[in-house]
């Protein structure tokens, strides 16, 4: 079974620029997550989708971050405008079910550097 796909793998931008990340979850997985992982820390949940609806976006900085999951499959995460502190790895994960705590499968991540 194919895993979670993410692109790009690396991105370098200057502050105040915009950037977008793409995620394709494992086929048939209902729930999709975006995490931010700063170097030396555990992942921090930004947003969770169930099918194409948002379940939790309480930690998403909505003044600059946005995300969508069209047709309940692929998802994009956008940052506009980027700040230096947004430098991190952005991980996408998916889970088959919709229960709290279902096992999550992670993609390879996108490493963002903001200069």
């Amino acid at each position: 079974e194919a895993g979670v796909a993410q692109s790009p793998r690396y991105k370098i931008i200057e502050k105040r620029q915009s950037v977008a990340f793409w995620c394709n979850p494992i086929s048939g997985h209902a729930t999709l997550y975006w995490y931010q992982q700063i170097l030396g820390q555990g992942p921090k949940l930004l947003i969770q989708f169930q099918n194409n609806g948002v379940v939790d976006d309480s930690q998403l900085p909505k003044d600059r971050f946005s995300a969508e999951r069209l047709k309940g499959v692929d998802s994009t995460l956008k940052i506009q405008p980027a700040k230096l502190e947004d430098s991190a790895v952005y991980l996408c994960a998916s889970s088959f079910g919709t229960r709290v705590g279902d096992e999550q499968f992670f993609g390879p991540g996108t490493r963002l550097t903001v200069l």
Binding site: Q41, G42, L45, D56, A93, V100, E103, P108
Partner: protein, 112 residues
Amino acid sequence: ELKVEQNPLFLSMQEGKNYTIYCNYSTTSDRLYWYRQDPGKSLESLFVLLSNGAVKQEGRLMASLDTKARLSTLHITAAVHDLSATYFCAVVPRDSNYQLIWGAGTKLIIKP
């Protein structure tokens, strides 16, 4: 406040030695995950522990869960270099909307 604390945060050890990583959490939970992350790579699920007293083993790694003490351990037996990685525990709080609360990770370096 929901907290997950891992101990130690950094561990350097010799091949062939045994060691234990600890994961303490502040909330009631019946489900805990251990993940492994290699440098520059994503997170790989190692174990899911679902009940008090649960023990799982895979090769040289063994994980256990004590829900009464709110403690999980990841024990490494006769460490080998290939086990060098960062290990995270993540807890599913009971009666909460939170999905996973993550520890900060334990960076493990095993020297040949």
